[in-house]
Subunit: 326 residues, 2 copies
């Protein structure tokens, strides 16, 4: 384990502990049991770690950023619990989702409770930053809902463009990641220039992150990814792969793909066929090129940083993201 991996593991442990501290109550059981279950089944904790690295890049300490880091992870978990209901997903982090283990009512309320706990955590911030950060956080809540709404709307549409796709993921996924770098930079005491650079950096890796997610949905096994295999394809989600393949309509592979996608219930065998067709259409290569392009761009953004040596943590973080398998 190198120094960076060790740092990430330590931060993850710290955040895991703080998350459980954020929900110390036992009663009512039907609220706190599912919340503690979901917070306890793991998760990569990428957003809070990114928030802390962003604070450190501008000279801040972990402690300055910890409450906001925990708040952003609670907010992320709120979106996961509710999205899993809407997307009928049964697996998350290799475990049953809340609405499967309990029921939909419990999952709705657990999500609602998580957003309350997220704001409670945020309210611990020192006065001089509270208003600014709380405003950013709130705009994030609204935008994440907008992103999820577009994502659901796109399921029924066949004419989603790459522009639509990038706007949707910018809200659904990008917003929280951008918020992590921006809030981290603010809490770390960054200058306006530093905050702007880190915000831009967050926005770019957020996009790369979602394209990776789209790829992992069909490339990775359930055991490794911990989510339902091919869930996006089965739900008719307009992922990068799907929108890109719409663009190359006309090829013979496209005709076959369309027939498969129109199947009412897509089986795992059909998912493998779809995977082969994506491959023939060079869709995976496009996605990988795109991801690489975004990570290169993100690194170039960090080059503009006044003290480039301070961005080592963030560069290692990008590298870790680039190589992620789940």
């Amino acid at each position: 384990m190198n120094d960076f991996t060790r740092t990430v593991a330590q931060l993850k442990d710290l955040i895991d502990a703080e998350l459980m501290n954020a929900a110390p109550q036992i009663k009512p059981h039907s609220l706190y049991e599912p919340i503690r279950y979901f917070l306890g089944i793991g998760g990569k904790r990428l957003r809070p770690i990114l928030l802390i690295f962003s604070a450190q890049a501008v000279g801040g300490k972990t402690d300055d950023a910890l409450d906001a880091a925990v708040a952003i992870e609670l907010l992320h978990n709120f979106t996961l619990v509710h999205d899993d209901i809407m997307d009928h997903d049964h697996l998350r982090r290799g475990q049953a989702t809340v609405h499967v283990r309990w029921d939909e009512s419990v999952a709705i309320l657990a999500g609602d409770g998580l957003i309350g706990l997220a704001y409670r955590q945020l309210m611990k911030l020192p006065g001089q930053h509270l208003t600014t950060v709380c405003r950013l956080f709130t705009e994030g809540v609204v935008e994440v809902c907008e992103g999820q709404a577009y994502d659901k709307e796109f399921e029924a549409l066949d004419d989603v463009t790459l522009d639509d796709y990038f706007r949707m993921i910018g809200k659904k996924t990008g917003r929280l990641i951008t918020m992590a770098t921006e809030i981290g930079a603010i809490l770390g005491g960054g200058t306006e220039e530093e905050i702007a650079i880190l915000t831009e950096y967050g926005s770019i890796i957020g996009t790369a992150f979602q394209i990776q997610d789209d790829l992992l949905d069909i490339m990775q096994s359930e055991e490794i990814i911990g989510k339902t295999y091919g869930s996006d394809v089965k739900a008719g989600k307009k992922t990068f792969l799907m929108v890109k393949s719409l663009e190359t309509a006309g090829s013979s592979a496209w005709g076959k793909l369309k027939t498969l996608l129109n199947t009412s219930e897509i089986t795992n065998d059909q998912l493998l066929e779809i995977r082969t067709l994506f491959d023939e259409m060079q869709i995976f290569k496009s996605a990988e090129d795109e991801i690489r392009h975004y990570f290169d761009t993100a690194n170039r953004v960090l080059d503009k940083f006044p003290h480039p040596e301070a961005t080592t943590g963030l560069r290692n973080f990008s590298e870790m993201l680039l190589n992620r398998k789940s």
Copy 2:
């Protein structure tokens, strides 16, 4: 229409307009259409009006309190949209609930969007009050979730006591009403003593309000109340009536009541039988006595106010609540 009724109607119009301003967006349609629909089908707007009257009682102006008033109504609407899913209610304010008119996913997301909009509205408060009010508001969000969790848990229990009942409604219903008076008093510039008195007042009328709601569920027609008739009884809710009747177990009416409640699907005819049994057991009289007792107590709390004449609005408000038919 007397002066007070006119004032209430004017405030309601003002709040209705501000609620629509709080959700001006059109896209994504699947998010903002249901939000605007739900905000547009009316509602008594009791919490925001109470918040404004509380601000006025301590010498504040409507404008000082308006953003928080709108925020609390948005928060209330968030709980209604989600509770209607959990409670399988099909009618609200005489119109189809969001999950019936669209579907559960749309309703989950509309509720989530509403809480984002509620905080956005709250963030407009002037700096000197923002932190305090935002903390109170956030504790309210958590407590309302706890109250709803207890309410759902109690559906499956037969040994709910009056203590359990009052704790549950204190969180589920009382918290938002207490928050309205407390935040109103803060924003109006009240002294510590005034804030404490109005908080106590809010807590008491909140309790009375929920017992009334329990009574209206079985006493009032769908046309007038705008909600599913007998929804609480059908769901096995532990209302004041139900808990009180558990206390008088042993009477012959109680035996018949228990048989009826164990029916798998309670019909409207059976609801009428249950109503008759409640009447025989003097449950309605108990509820009415209790409501009257709480309103009397609330008025006595207002007597402690440094300038009793300033509480005329609140006293009229209590009187209006006491006589409400829906």
